[in-house]
Amino acid sequence: MRNKYSIFSLIKNALSYHENWQRAWKDPTPKKEYDAVVIGGGGHGLATAYYLAKKHNMNNIAVVEKGWIGGGNTGRNTTIIRSNYLWDASAGLYDHALKIWEGLSQELNYNVMFSQRGVMNLAHNLQDVRDLKRRTHANRLNGIDAVYLSTEEVKKFCPIINTSQDIRYPVLGGTLQRRAGTARHDAVAWGYARGADAMGVDIIQNCEVKGIKRNGDSVEGIETTKGFIKTKKVGVVAAGHSSVIANMAGLRLPLESKPLQALVSEPVKPIIDTVVMSNAVHAYVSQSDKGELVIGAGTDDYVSYTQKGSHQIVEGTLNAILELYPIFSRMRMLRQWGGIVDICPDASPILSKTTIKGLYFNCGWGTGGFKATPGSGDLFAHTIANDEPHKINAAFNLNRFVSGDLVDEHGAAAVAH
């Protein structure tokens, strides 16, 4: 039985110098056979396993992870959560996730530090102004909170922004989603892992998938570095490495994997209490609870799995940050890293069945998957358990690249991809 985290358990464990906390999840050896296996132990994969067990009573399942849980893009993103997408399908998908975020810490009995500090998107030219106003209206029609702000209102909401009209890309206005914000990325993976483990899910780390075994058009199991695991259902949630797994199954996906960079500064006292994103100059910034500025940069334009990224990408982002926030001019950057993001031609994700029975893909989240973690897990679990998509993720099928019914969020979403 899993011990509940509470003020009482904290006091009790404090008395024994925090040396007797129960393991948050087990370290099992894989069984010979499972009802379903999820490939990828990031937030999306662990959430998928959690909801498979919780909502679909599939308890004889496993998550296999080649490294350690949350060591991929879950631990590499800038933790921004929002749902202000233009198209109806995207708005439905991301707001489904946002609604789950609002009660997630309570549901998981794990503090994911979800903070609805608001996300502000800036407009720097007349087309931005038109696009952001249009998106504000579209959001409201879909029941998503959004307001358009004038330059003065932007300045009032975040006083450290340079709103001088003499800079290269002056701030002409912005939008604000107050329900949006951030969460602690590691905690999301750990909370879902602990929750899934408590319901009997095996979380198997350091277990790399080497092959997908097929019998004709059906999945029979997976070859891993810890041996063969028999299963009829495989959910692939491998982010930047989705194409690698797809190639093992003889499938091709409409994805390109590219390095996306982020960086954090040295910690300072609270200076920015919201998230500010600027599409046109590609600069976004928030401040972590530790006091570091968390800065998101862009992707390189070539395929690479190196988790590094080019220097000029970071330089471009920092140039923009310094123009918008002159107060940061003497800040020193502490760390920089890259994650491999899988980008679809329409910059929308794929949560879908495939032509192979029992093989499902949850991929293509590109540069913005963290915000969707709970919703993605919930909907992908539904898709795997019922062998049919939920109506919210029906539009995000693989067949849209054949039918042409794309969910074109490229440039239409709140940030450029």
Binding site: R252, E256, T306, H311, Q312, D342, F401, V402, S403
Partner: protein, 91 residues
């Protein structure tokens, strides 16, 4: 970030170049005969290999010519560069 040996200009910084994606995807000879599946395959589906991949690059801020590259995407090591129309080197 790496150096690229442009077949026309010599060695230059990668940021002078634009990546053009997977190479040797042949434009359909009879577009009107193609099924939707074949169009999807041509337009959208990519190998996206982790390892040695054949790619097109353009020297956008230089001679503006296109050429092909064989590159290992797991470490960004360039294996070979050859001009458009030339036969790809065997691995």
């Amino acid at each position: 970030m790496f150096l690229i040996n442009c077949p026309y200009c010599g060695e230059r910084d990668q940021q002078e170049f634009k990546a053009g994606g997977e190479a040797h995807i042949e434009r359909p000879k009879q577009p009107t005969e193609l099924s939707d599946d074949e169009w999807a395959e041509y337009l959208f589906m990519r190998k996206n290999i982790k390892g040695v991949q054949f790619e097109r690059w353009n020297h956008a801020h230089g001679c503006r010519k296109w050429f092909n590259m064989v590159r290992d995407t797991s470490n960004d090591e360039i294996k070979a560069i050859y001009k458009m129309g030339e036969k790809p080197p065997s691995q």
